[in-house]
């Protein structure tokens, strides 16, 4: 009886904490949205919770005066390709690093991790010069190639593969399965939460990436959403309501993907969740 009340109290406290936290999480985004429907400059000295003359004109500006539909399509396409390729290259490498011992594997993995340790800011110039020699400037392929493998994704999936019980592989091996079949029929189905997580992050990485697409994609018809959003800022003045409208728009596909992908993250545990 007593334990019931404490768990009841805990339940209430938990819900209140989650709701309060969610408000703190949501508030800045709400404010971004409010600014986007506040006509004119938008940044009032005394911020209001609701604008005097709310207007969706900024959204109209985005889609009528700018090639926004086009840049959204570009961003979606690049992000989708990046995500699919990264899922493939990360999963195969993760399998190798977890299940295929070879001489110097630790060093190779360390080299993989090392590729995350140099800031992009110093790599763009050499990378740009290199892609120029390949004739890939101002092409989708030039924007995509450097995103095809990600040490982040490989590391993420390797941790997941390491957690798949080896008894499962051994059983498959006894059944006569080779590495390729073990990979596809044992490992991949067992790391779905990690694959879904990587889907989110790979997509997000591409969706939000700025510096490299800025440098490599110059033609207006090739440009991506973050570049177009930055382009709303002029040398002297900026239409902040339009910038904020663009920010709101850019959040939506990511949020949709997250809500879709998280079903797979919690898949299979709905019945036996941690109590």
């Amino acid at each position: 009886m007593r334990e019931r009340t404490t768990s009841r109290t805990a339940w209430v406290v938990l819900h209140i904490a989650v709701i309060l936290g969610a408000l703190a999480m949501f508030f800045p985004f709400l404010w971004t949205f409010i600014t986007s429907i506040t006509p004119g400059a938008g940044f009032s000295i005394t911020p209001r919770l609701w604008p005097e003359n709310p207007s969706f004109a900024a959204y109209e500006t985005l889609f009528t005066e700018r090639p926004f539909a086009r840049v959204v399509m570009n961003s979606l396409m690049l992000a989708a390709i990046t995500t699919i390729v990264q899922l493939f290259t990360s999963a195969t490498a993760a399998y190798a690093f977890s299940r295929l011992p070879f001489r110097g594997r630790g060093v190779v993995f360390a080299v993989y991790l090392a590729t995350m340790m140099i800031p992009l800011q110093v790599l763009v110039v050499p990378l740009f010069a290199q892609l120029k020699t390949f004739g890939l400037l101002n092409t989708y392929l030039g924007a995509l190639l450097p995103t095809f493998a990600s040490a982040f994704g490989i590391f993420l999936l390797r941790q997941a593969v390491n957690q798949v019980p080896r008894e499962l592989d051994e059983a498959a091996t006894l059944d006569g399965a080779g590495h390729f079949r073990t990979f596809f029929s044992i490992i991949l189905p067992n790391i779905k939460p990690a694959l879904a997580t990587l889907t989110i992050f790979a997509f997000m990485g591409s969706w939000n990436s700025f510096l490299w697409p800025l440098i490599v994609l110059r033609s207006p018809e090739l440009q991506t959403l973050p570049i177009a959003l930055a382009g709303l800022q002029g040398q002297y003045t900026t239409a902040w309501d339009v910038v904020m409208a663009g920010s709101v728009i850019s959040v939506l596909p990511m949020l949709a993907l997250y809500i879709f992908a998280q079903k797979y993250i919690i898949q299979g545990v709905a019945s036996s969740g941690i109590k």
């Binding site: 904490a17 936290g21 969610a22 703190a24 999480m25 800045p28 985004f29 940044f43 005394t46 990360s90 490498a93 190798a96 977890s98 295929l100 070879f102 001489r103 630790g106 060093v107 360390a110 080299v111 991790l113 090392a114 590729t115 340790m117 140099i118 800031p119 800011q121 110093v122 790599l123 110039v125 050499p126 990378l127 010069a129 290199q130 190639l145 450097p146 493998a149 040490a151 490989i154 993420l156 941790q159 997941a160 390491n162 957690q163 390729f180 939460p193 997000m204 939000n208 973050p226 959003l229 930055a230 904020m244 920010s247 850019s250 959040v251 949020l255 998280q262 993250i265 898949q267 941690i274």
Partner: protein, 317 residues
């Protein structure tokens, strides 16, 4: 299967611990095995080698030159490194970066863990709440930075207003050198909580529920189960979060650029902001490359220490 048998030593299963050649090389497995390894590794090795390692080599070469990106490079040997070591700003930007990491990492990990545990429960509208907590992760820094500057406005910002209600006079936040880095840490932790939450949620899902049942049968209470099942079983995810957060933390840039631009008085200038300034604003690409190689050495050292140290606390299934 008891908890303890699962927590076996993982020396032979954690390949990254072997940064040097293993004592006993694996038995030769023939060319077919070699082909299999190649087939699994090449899809990632080729792009990483071509588009990261090669530019890294180029950057190493640039670090030995004086270069403003426009006129031809001039070879200067190790002068750039010598200049950086003599320059007090180098220590300052590394110090500020370290300050960021020390403040950010515990905040974001503990917060993210709490969130993951809370949102892993049978909560009403769980999917909805998860979506809300993930929202900051996907919002661009340009919008977030402006909103946070306003929230942390010393005069009429929401944070200081709320502090005022409980009788605390809020600080000057990003307008004061002593508070600019805490402002950035706060905004960054807020933004990345959802990221850590997602990783840890995936980790929680991978825990075998039988372990909890077994622990219950052994009479373990909630805290004991958390301490002896959840935390050890979550350690691969924790390890991942810590390694990644440190690698990314040392390269913190976007939020600094958008929130304070490194100010006031250089109090929030971090290493990568300095690298960006040197490359694209101060015409010193050689020095920037040298600085990034120094940063590389620091991150590598920190990561290697973690990889070696993981034996003590990371448990794979």
């Amino acid at each position: 299967m008891s908890v303890s048998t699962l927590q076996t030593s993982l020396v032979d299963r954690a390949p990254v611990t072997r940064l040097t050649a293993p004592v006993r090389p694996p038995a030769r497995r023939g060319w077919r095995y070699g082909l299999t390894v190649a087939a699994f590794l090449l899809p990632s090795a080729v792009p990483l080698a071509l588009f990261v390692l090669v530019p890294m080599v180029s950057a190493a070469w640039i670090s030995l030159n004086d270069w403003n990106l426009i006129t031809p490079m001039q070879f200067v040997g190790l002068d750039n490194f010598a200049e950086l070591i003599a320059d007090p700003r180098t220590a300052a930007v590394f110090g500020n970066t370290l300050y960021y990491i020390v403040g950010y990492l515990p905040l974001v990990y503990v917060g993210g863990l709490f969130l993951a545990l809370a949102l892993n429960r049978a909560l009403k509208g769980r999917a909805f709440w998860r979506g809300i907590y993930f929202l900051p992760v996907v919002t661009s820094w340009i919008a977030v930075a402006i909103v946070w500057r306003w929230l942390l406005n010393p005069n009429n910002g929401v944070v200081n207003t709320v502090l005022g209600w409980v009788g605390i006079e809020g600080p000057g936040w990003w307008t004061e050198p002593a508070w600019s880095m805490p402002s950035i840490i706060l905004a960054s932790a807020w933004k990345d909580l959802g990221f850590v939450m997602v990783i840890l949620l995936a980790g929680l899902q991978a825990i075998n529920p039988d372990l909890y049942d077994a622990a219950k049968v052994d009479g373990a209470g909630a805290w004991t189960r958390f301490r002896h099942v959840t935390l050890p079983m979550l350690s691969p995810s924790t390890f991942f979060v810590v390694v990644i957060s440190l690698i990314n933390g040392f390269q913190v840039f976007d939020q600094v650029y958008a929130m304070t631009g490194g100010g006031p008085a250089g109090s929030s200038q971090v290493v990568v902001q300095q690298i960006y300034d040197l490359t694209f604003r101060y015409g010193a690409a050689g020095e920037a490359s040298a600085l990034s190689w120094m940063l590389f050495a620091v991150i590598l050292a920190v990561t290697v220490v973690q990889i070696i140290g993981q034996k003590r606390w990371v448990h794979y299934a």
